[in-house]
Amino acid sequence: MSAAAPSIKSQPVYHALEWDAAGVRHLLFVASDDPPLLDRLLAAPPRGELTALSTDAAAGERLQSSGAAAHTLVADGLARGLETLGLLLRDSEMGLRLYLVGCEDAIWQAAGIASGYGMSSAEIRLFQTGTKARPVFCVHCRAMTRGVRTNLVDCSGCGRTLFVRDHFSRRLGAYMGFQIDAEEPGVKPPVELAYP
């Protein structure tokens, strides 16, 4: 399920997830359950040791019962999961490939942690599944507002009404939001559900 052509170059496009045969060890991080995807991946596990880490209980059970992973860890929520991911990466060696499955907020936070450990995009594969809700970065006050499903959102930092752009920053792992009524105060389009 790769996204349609993006309206802007910076918007990520996610290709069907496959194991990277160039890797010798693999770490699968799952933040949202996706039964067809996980069943397909686990039916043909990669060469080399696979470790699975899930922040979703149902996905965790699916990973555990498949027997494809040498180790399966289930974390209680995204924050704990990201913490565990950091600990696993801290002790990992070159040759590892990282697969990130979930909503964009989760997988790009995970990708940020991985690049902090010196991993390059050649070692990380991302796949968006679950909610389309966006993490939004306020270009005025630099605060992050997470889980945004609408075209407009009140900034969690400065309270301005932000328009959520398609312009995405890989470094920040977020879409850019700017004040919608900066030029004509109070003039705002209707709020719509844009990212279900």
């Binding site: 160039a22 060890r25 060696e93 070159m94 490939r97 450990y117 390059s120 050649a122 070692e123």
Partner: protein, 318 residues
């Protein structure tokens, strides 16, 4: 774009049998431009038969604005450049030198760096070690050389890397085991090698087999232009014809004829001199490390710094 600086050889130091260090200073005594670790310069050597331009890695301190340092091994099959530097170059000799260019930069995001040198390939490795030491980054050096006396610049490396310099001396049957060297390394490790072709290939292959992505494995190797048959280059735009002698590269022949094609490394690595081929009535001899197989097969591109044709005539878009 091929701007040169007027410099003089300010010092010549014998480092080992067949290896000399040269210091270069500006002719006018002024400050030199800054450069980054891993950079090289191109020297225009005034050989009796004409100017020969050879690339050499800078080994000195990039913060030193008064002198540039290079180390040169006399090649057994020298085309004249390294032999001239060993036999005829004297202190005070004026030499024209290009601006530094870096085709072998370091990763700024690495958590640990493994530097590997084979023989005179130690030159950019010294410059990397210097920069990493300055930045306070974690690194280690592995240095393979023929015999103890060929471990040039080793004292400098030891000063920069402390205890983390490991020597592999061929005369004592010591070789680098890349599998061992690259195994068990933490995520975010980058490895760099400068050395002979076989070593470079072995290094990349072993790294790939062990799951290292190409983004974390870096190497540099300059080729000397291999000699071949004489041939003719036709310049499509002016209709001029230039003869390329057997011991001359196409780039050198074009320069001798007064044209100024772009170049950076002159060693088949950087891609700067990539030239469009209009027609060719002979067989290509691609010697570069830059063009893909598909580009070679197309018959539409050539790197005149190291590649040639097996006699006959080639027409290029120049």
């Amino acid at each position: 774009m091929n701007a040169e600086i007027g410099m003089v050889l300010s010092r010549v130091i014998e480092l080992a049998p067949g290896i000399r260090e040269f210091w270069l200073a500006r002719e006018d005594g002024g400050d030199l431009p800054a450069y980054s670790g891993g950079s090289h310069i191109v020297l225009s050597l005034p050989l009796p038969g004409g100017v020969r331009r050879n690339p050499y890695s800078l080994v000195g301190d990039p913060g030193d604005r008064k002198k540039w340092r290079i180390a040169v091994r006399r090649q057994e099959q020298s085309r004249g450049g390294s032999a001239w530097l060993h036999e005829h170059a004297r202190e005070g000799q004026p030499i024209r030198v290009s601006m530094p260019a870096n085709l072998f930069p370091m990763s700024r995001l690495a958590r640990h760096h493994i530097l590997v040198a084979g023989g005179i390939g130690v030159t950019p490795i010294v410059s990397h070690a210097r920069e990493l030491a300055r930045l306070g980054q974690h690194f280690e050096v592995h240095y393979a050389h023929r015999a103890p006396e060929f471990g040039v610049l080793l004292d400098e490396l030891r000063q920069l890397a402390g205890g983390d310099v490991h020597c592999y001396v061929a005369s004592r049957n010591q070789v680098i085991d890349f599998r061992e060297l690259l195994g068990g390394r933490p995520l975010g490790t980058h490895a760099y090698l400068c050395g002979p072709q076989g070593m470079v290939e072995d290094f990349h292959k072993t790294a790939r087999d062990m799951g290292w992505p190409d983004t974390h494995v870096h190497s540099e190797r300059f080729l000397a232009p291999p000699p071949g048959e004489a041939f003719t280059v036709k310049l499509a735009r002016s209709g001029r014809e230039v003869a390329v002698a057997g011991d001359q590269s196409m780039l050198e022949a074009l320069e001798a004829a007064g044209t100024e094609p772009p170049f950076l490394c002159r060693g088949g690595a950087c891609g700067q001199c990539e030239t469009q081929v209009v027609a060719c009535d002979s067989k290509f001899q691609h010697n570069d490390l830059f063009l893909s197989q598909a580009e070679r097969d197309s018959g539409r591109k050539i790197m005149p710094c190291v590649s040639r044709i097996a006699g006959g005539c080639i027409t290029i878009d120049l």
